[in-house]
């Protein structure tokens, strides 16, 4: 069968022309145009977007609508139905604009009606297209609580047609989010049906694995039902599927087991499954396409925040493998992001992991990724930096405080994407802890300026995280550095940040002040400058502190001030005994009664410093404390459950006894 291959001519047939033919009155012309469009767009993202812009989607949808209505009387109409449904499904496949266009064109109800056709091909086309829609986040949310919806869903799962089954599973994967939804699905026998599918055909099995993950996620009840089903048969089946030939099945089965493990580690204990899961996932990293892309994300979800699993991954050589992949040429952004994220998680808690990664050549790739075009990649690279910069060893060696690492991070502080900014801030917060006091370099590179700028951001997370970085910068810093920070920030900004509407911002601002005045006695001046504007702000904030953390940081500020001379101690006394309109007892009394031992500890330290016997004016200060009822409060705390508190209280009362009751 000779066929002249002339793709060029059909590709260059004006697309607008094709779209116009869709409204031809000649059904054959319509059909040909449909098939042409369909064959051009399948697999071809660029073409899909082109045709969408030309308004092809509503045109195809109306062909579907007309053909459907006419289908009962005209045989060729079923061809039109199948082709138009297929075309619409393809528009919706992996293209958000396509999904939106198909939904807006009102095609969904038609797809549903196709499912009840007697023609298997029509059913298939409807099921496939709906399935494509439900693979997108833009699909309408399916309400499982409505009986009619649940019945429909069950009919899909019970159908003889595998594509229809797949649609049912796809709807569950898309819309099952809350535990209430998980429960109602389970109560209606969906879990059992999905378990059945695990032993069905490849497509049923894969679709079911995805759905099971969303039905069991974070749900103790449903997960335990699965695990206990027929004495563990379903669980064993799942474990077997991790060694299936199909890589996609393996990945989905691993993801499912991870979900089960996250509900309760006990379900997988004693079977060596955890190590196997890590090894399988590391193997799957080699796979091309979506499976390989997702494998690293699945691995991350497994090891996140779990030190024991991170150790298992380390032992399984994960870092070497991830680094090998990292250094491959032409990595797709999604795959790169996944690998960086996995490295970030594996190094998040264990020093051995960081120690392994840092000397590797691949670490340069992490550094380079800070400048990648894709925002998600940049964010993941920052997360990786944040993890490795938790290494006290390397911070002490001044490993991170160099241009190569810091300059790109400083750049990212201005990134258009918020998540990148935050991730960069967190990495910088660690790096500035640099114990070799090369903080002057940071100042020279403009770091302080930028951080101070960000502390004025509209976004509270940015404000609190930039203050956090400044706080870390001033930790154990020399005077020059502190002056630099204070000078850039100014007393009035500092005061207003202490009084910020958001507690996390208040907390970090207070902690920053604490670090500023820590150390030599001169530093205390920072709170007294400009008419004690900062000290006043501290006192004011303590009066209306809404969280224990804010109270604690504020009290440590007062504590540091009170470690000075008479003038300083008296100033602190004034703050403690500020007139309040609403409560008659000073805030310190409330703090001393707090359930949070850290707050009680900080508060008693203030009193310890205020009542130091060797300092002038101590008896008058003690008198004031007694009159304010603070001494009697302390007397109630001689047996405080927290050892720190107990010992300081006894010290204070000892000092008090020296001056006697007057």
């Amino acid at each position: 069968m000779p066929s002249s291959v002339s793709p060029a001519t059909s590709a260059s047939r004006p697309s607008t022309d094709l779209v116009a033919r869709l409204s031809s009155s000649d059904l054959q012309v319509q059909l040909k145009a449909l098939r042409d469009i369909k064959n051009q767009i399948i697999g071809n993202r660029t073409k899909k977007l082109t045709f969408i812009k030309l308004g092809a989607v509503p045109a195809v949808a109306s062909v579907l609508a007309d053909a459907f209505d006419a289908a009962s009387c005209c045989a060729s109409s079923s061809d039109l139905v199948v082709q138009s449904a297929a075309a619409l499904g393809s528009f919706a496949c992996g293209v958000d604009a396509g999904v939106r266009a198909v939904i807006d064109a009102g095609a969904l109800p038609y797809f549903v009606r196709l499912l009840s056709s007697s023609d298997e091909k029509v059913v298939d086309s409807g099921a496939r297209s709906l399935k494509m829609i439900y693979q997108s986040k833009l699909a309408p949310k399916y309400d499982f609580s409505e009986k009619v919806n649940m019945d429909f869903l069950l009919s899909l799962l019970n159908s003889e047609n595998e594509n229809v089954n797949g649609l049912g599973a796809g709807i569950i994967t898309h819309s099952c989010e809350t535990s209430a939804e998980q429960k109602v699905l389970c109560d209606n026998g969906v879990l059992l049906k999905l378990i059945d599918f695990l032993e069905g055909s490849i497509s049923q099995r894969d679709a079911s694995l995805e759905s099971l993950a969303s039905v069991m996620k974070d749900n103790t009840e449903v997960t335990s039902k699965f695990v206990e089903y027929e004495g563990g048969r379903a669980l064993n089946l799942l474990v077997k599927l991790t060694s299936e030939r199909s890589t996609r099945t393996r990945l989905l089965a691993c993801a499912c087991l991870i979900i089960i493990r996250n509900v309760s580690p006990g379900y997988l204990k004693g079977k060596g499954i955890e190590t196997k899961l890590i090894c399988y996932l590391l193997e799957l990293l080699e796979e091309p396409g979506q499976v390989g892309d997702e494998a690293s994300f699945t691995l991350s979800s497994f090891i996140e925040d779990k030190e024991d699993l991170q150790k298992l991954a380390f032992d399984a050589n994960a870092i070497d493998l991830l680094c090998t992949h990292l250094q491959k040429d032409l990595l797709q952004p999604q795959r790169l992001e996944g690998i960086l994220l996995a490295l970030a998680h594996i190094c998040s808690r264990l020093e051995v992991c960081r120690a392994k990664l840092l000397p590797m050549q691949a670490f340069d790739s992490v550094n380079d990724a800070l400048r990648h075009d894709c925002a998600d990649v940049r964010a993941a690279a920052c997360m990786c930096m944040r993890s490795v910069s938790r290494s006290v060893q390397n911070l002490s060696a001044g490993f991170f405080m160099n241009e190569k690492i810091v300059l790109p991070l400083l750049q990212l502080l201005h990134d258009p994407t918020l998540s990148v900014q935050l991730a960069a801030l967190r990495a910088i917060s660690n790096i500035v802890v640099d114990f070799r006091t090369r903080k002057s370099s940071f100042v020279r590179w403009g770091g302080v300026k930028q951080l101070v700028q960000l502390s004025m951001s509209m976004n509270p997370s940015i404000r609190s995280n930039s203050l956090w970085a400044l706080k870390n910068l001033t930790f154990d810093a020399d005077n020059k550095c502190k002056e630099g920070v204070y000078g850039e920030l100014t007393a009035s900004s500092l005061a207003s940040l202490i009084g910020d509407p958001e507690p996390p911002v208040q907390e970090q601002a207070l902690a920053l002040v604490r670090n500023l005045i820590d150390g030599s006695l001169d530093s205390v001046q920072y709170v007294f400058a400009e008419d004690s504007i900062v000290l006043d702000a501290v006192g004011r904030q303590l009066q209306r502190a809404s969280t224990a953390e804010v109270g604690m940081q504020g009290m440590y500020v007062l504590c540091n001030v009170a470690s000075g001379g008479e003038v300083h101690k008296d100033a602190v006394m004034d703050q403690l005994l500020r007139d309040t309109k609403n409560s008659s007892s000073p805030f310190i009394t409330q703090f001393l009664q707090s359930n949070d031992s850290r707050l009680r500890t900080a508060s008693v330290w203030v009193v310890v410093n205020l009542t130091t016997p060797s300092c002038r004016g101590v008896s008058s200060r003690i008198g004031k404390l007694r009159n304010a009822g603070i001494i009697s409060q302390l007397k109630n705390m001689v047996n405080d459950p927290c050892l720190d508190v107990k010992l300081r209280v006894r010290t204070i009362l000892g000092q008090y006894m020296t001056f006697g009751d007057s």
Partner: protein, 246 residues
């Protein structure tokens, strides 16, 4: 007795023997003893028939599969789907890629939409066919309009894309460094990829079981070699038992 039968029995016997010889030092088994043991091995005819049918279906021998069904009563999947699949495979093998794409899309529009690598290889084959037919201008246009976007959408295709486009740079295409792209083997490779994708979408295993069984036999014999000398099958095509070397 069919060769197939011999092979299967050999495999079963070896597996049993290997277990038995776990603890013993190398033993010699004469042909007589071996054949006696082989005769005791029970293999079900239905299982063999299924294996044969599986092979015929997966490889796409439609008529043979139908005849075998009639003569043996072994069930198989709907032949129409095999026919469709074979039509696609044949189209690619003949270089009619556009036709193959249309057929695949009629069979199941999801396949090419969810298999970017396969779609790229089919487009690549289209380009190769254009170059083979000397249609240089069309080839250039096609490369620009259809293939370049694939490379943009997915960077892992760039290398192969470059190789293919390199064909255009040479006067004598059959002698250039990337000339192997013009070989029949490239068409067969692409055809095989499409075949596998269709099989997977139809929820079938994409590889027939028979080759795996033969691989297993070879491996098992190698294992047993460490422990015994026995009649081996050295030539799979004849399944002849060769006397053990003493």
């Amino acid at each position: 007795m069919s060769l197939f039968w011999i092979v299967i029995r050999q495999l079963a016997e070896i597996e049993a023997m290997t277990d038995l010889l776990q603890a013993m030092s190398k033993k010699v088994i004469t042909r007589e003893e071996w054949e006696k043991k082989l005769n005791d091995v029970k293999i079900r005819k239905e299982d063999m028939n299924k294996l044969v049918m599986n092979f015929l279906v997966t490889e796409g021998y439609v008529e043979a599969a139908e005849k075998f069904r009639m003569e043996s009563g072994t069930e198989h999947i709907d032949l129409a789907t095999i026919t469709d699949r074979m039509a696609v495979k044949k189209a690619v093998q003949c270089g009619n890629v556009e036709d193959a794409i249309e057929k695949v899309n009629d069979l199941n529009p999801e396949i090419l939409d969810t298999n970017p690598q396969l779609f790229f290889h089919l487009q690549q084959q289209r380009l190769i066919e254009l170059i083979r037919n000397g249609k240089v201008e069309e080839a250039l246009e096609f490369a620009q309009e259809e293939l370049a976007p694939r490379g943009e959408e997915n960077q892992s295709f760039l290398e192969e894309l470059e190789r293919t486009v390199a064909l255009l740079a040479f006067e004598d295409v059959s002698n250039c460094p990337v000339g192997e792209l013009l070989d029949m083997s490239q068409r067969l490779k692409t055809a095989s990829e499409v075949n596998a994708a269709i099989l997977t979408s139809q929820s079938h295993e994409k590889d027939p079981k028979l080759p795996s069984l033969l691989k297993m036999l070879i491996w098992a014999q190698n294992q047993l070699d460490k422990k015994a000398a026995y009649p081996r099958i050295n030539d799979l095509s004849t399944a002849k038992l060769e006397d053990p070397s003493v």
